[in-house]
C-alpha cells in the first residue's frame, strides 16, 4: 500500500507536493460526500415531518394512480414525439431562411431585411401559447374545411413561426461571428456573394451554433405540450384528464418523469457539445 502510494504517474516517485495535493483532494471529496449525505438526510427526514406530507403523498405520489395511468401517458407521448419530429426540420429551414434574409446586403433586398427583423421581433415577443391559440383557432375559423383546419396543422404552424424566430436569431449570431475578413478573402478569390455565404460563412456559422440550437430543440420538445390547448390529446392533456377523473396530481408527476427521461439526456448532450466547443476554441 505505502509502496503504491509512493509511486506516481510513469513510475516516478511522487513528490511531497503531489502527496499533499492528493490529501487535499481526498479531504474535499470527503466533505462533499458528507454534505451531500446531510442534505439528502435532511430531505428524507425533515420533509415528511411537514404536517401536510401524507396529503401530498396521496395527491402527488399515489402509486396505484401512477400504475393505472402511466401506460396511457406513454401512449399519449407518441403524439408529442410526432409533432416534434415534423416541426423541428421545418423550424430549422425557416429559421435559416429568415436569418439569411436579415443578412441580405444588397440594397434591392432591403425589404427582406425589414421583413426578417419584423418577423423575429413579433414572434419572439409573443408568448408561444398566445400564438398557438390565435393561429390554432383563428385561422381555421376563417372557414377552412377539413382537413385543412386541423389543430395539428395550425398548431404546428404556430410552433414553427415562434421557434423559427428564435432559431433565426441564433443563426444570425453565428453568421455575424464569422469575421468579415473571411468574406473579403473569399470575394477576392472571385466567389460570388452567394457562394461566399454557402461555402465560407454558413459552414462555420452553423457549426458554431449547434449547441445553442440543441437548447432550442429541448425547449421545443417541452412546448409541444402547448398544442394541447387547441385539442390534440398529447401527454399534458392526457395527464390532465387523468388528474380530473381521479382528483389526483400523480399523472402530472408521471408526465414529468417521461419528459425528464427525454430532456435530461438531451440537455447533457448539449452541455457536452458546448464544452467540446469551448475546449476547441481555447
Amino acid at each position: 500500500m505505502s509502496q503504491i502510494d509512493n509511486v506516481g504517474v510513469g513510475g516516478k516517485p511522487r513528490s511531497r507536493r503531489q502527496a499533499y495535493e492528493d490529501k487535499l483532494r481526498r479531504k474535499s471529496l470527503l466533505i462533499a460526500v458528507m454534505s451531500s449525505a446531510a442534505v439528502v438526510l435532511a430531505m428524507v427526514v425533515l420533509v415528511p415531518m411537514a404536517p401536510g406530507w401524507d396529503r401530498v403523498v396521496k395527491s402527488f405520489f399515489n402509486w396505484s394512480v401512477m400504475t393505472r395511468t402511466f401506460p396511457g401517458l406513454l401512449e399519449a407521448f407518441v403524439q408529442n414525439i410526432m409533432i416534434f419530429a415534423w416541426s423541428a426540420p421545418l423550424i430549422a429551414v425557416l429559421g435559416l431562411v429568415i436569418a439569411l434574409m436579415r443578412d441580405a446586403r444588397s440594397p434591392v433586398l432591403f425589404p427582406l431585411r425589414i421583413f426578417g427583423a419584423a418577423y423575429t421581433d413579433i414572434f419572439r415577443g409573443l408568448p408561444v401559447i398566445l400564438t398557438v391559440y390565435l393561429i390554432g383557432f383563428g385561422i381555421p375559423g376563417l372557414g377552412l374545411s377539413r382537413p385543412y383546419n386541423s389543430p395539428y396543422l395550425w398548431g404546428t404552424v404556430a410552433l414553427v413561426l415562434t421557434y423559427s424566430a428564435y432559431v433565426a436569431e441564433i443563426f444570425r449570431g453565428g453568421i455575424d461571428s464569422v469575421h468579415s475578413s473571411q468574406r473579403s478573402a473569399a470575394q477576392s478569390l472571385g466567389l460570388s456573394d452567394r457562394d461566399v455565404m454557402r461555402y465560407v460563412v454558413l459552414p462555420q456559422a452553423i457549426r458554431k451554433v449547434v449547441p445553442a440550437q440543441m437548447n432550442m430543440l429541448i425547449a421545443l420538445q417541452k412546448d409541444v405540450a402547448l398544442l394541447s390547448f387547441i385539442g390534440p390529446v398529447e401527454i399534458f392533456r392526457q395527464a390532465g384528464v387523468y388528474k380530473s377523473l381521479s382528483a389526483n396530481f400523480t399523472p402530472y408527476v408521471g408526465a414529468a418523469i417521461i419528459f425528464l427521461a427525454v430532456t435530461i439526456p438531451a440537455t447533457r448532450y448539449a452541455d457536452y457539445l458546448m464544452q467540446k466547443q469551448a475546449r476547441e476554441r481555447s
Binding site: R55, V56, S59, P151
Partner: protein
Amino acid sequence: MTIKTLLMGTALTFAAGTAFAGGHLCYEGKTLTEGKLTVATGNPAYFPWVMNDDPASGEGFEAAVAYAVAEEMGLAADDVIWVRTSFDEAIQPGAKNFDVNMQQYSITPERDEMVDFSAPYFSAPMAVVVVGEGLDAAPTMESLKALKWGAVGTTTAVPMLTSMIEPSDDPLLYGDNADVTAAMQAGQIDAALFDLPTALFLSAVMIEGSAVLGQVPADRSENPDQFGMLMEDGNPLKTCVDAALEALTESGALAAIEAEWLQTTTGVPLIAE
C-alpha cells in the same frame, strides 16, 4: 323583487328566529371565517349556473342553491362570500380558500377518495351538441361514432365518450367550454358532449348554427352525473351542508330553484342504441 332581496328577507327572519331561540347552529366553528360561508365558483362562472358571471347576485342555478343552502344553515345572504378557483386549486392538497366549491363537479368514487362531496344538488344527463356535418347525424350511437368529437378534458364527459360512443377518430380535448366552442366554430369538431343545461345554453346562445342532437339516457351511463359541492377531505361542515341540501330537497325548494334557472329538459330526445 330579486331573489337576493327575497332570500335576504327570509334569511333575516330565520336568523332572528334562531338567535331568539339561542340555539346552537351546525356551522359554528366549522367555516373558514366564523359566521361566513365561503363559496367558490369558476373563473369565469358559466350560464346557467351563474348569471353574468356575478354569483353575488344570487342569479343562476348554482348561485341560487348556494344562497338557499346558506339560508337553510342559518346564515344571512350577506354572510356568503364568493371566491374563484380553478379545478386544480379545488383538489390541491393543503389549506383551501373556500368552504364549499360549486362548479358542476360530478361526484365519482375516484374523486371521493381525495376530496369530500356534499349530497348531490343536481342530476345531469349528458347531451350531444352538434354543428356542421354533425347536424346531419341521426341520434343513434352508430351514426355518432363517425363524427369528429370534442369535450372538455376535465369533465366526466371524457370517459363517457370513450366508453360509450367510442368514436372512430380520436376525440380532441380542451381546457374549458369556451375552447370547445371555439373549436366548433372553427369547424374542427362536429360534436361535443356536455351536461344537458350547459349543452342547451351553448347551443342556443354561444355556438351559431348548432343544435342539441339528444341526451344520453341515464341508464346508458353506469353512473349518471350528479353534481355535488366539493369540500376538503374530512371537512366537518359536510354534515351541515348535507342536512341543508336534504331539507331543501324534501321541501321542494331545490326543485323550485331548478325550475327557475335551468331550462326545461323535456323535449330533448334520447339517443337510441
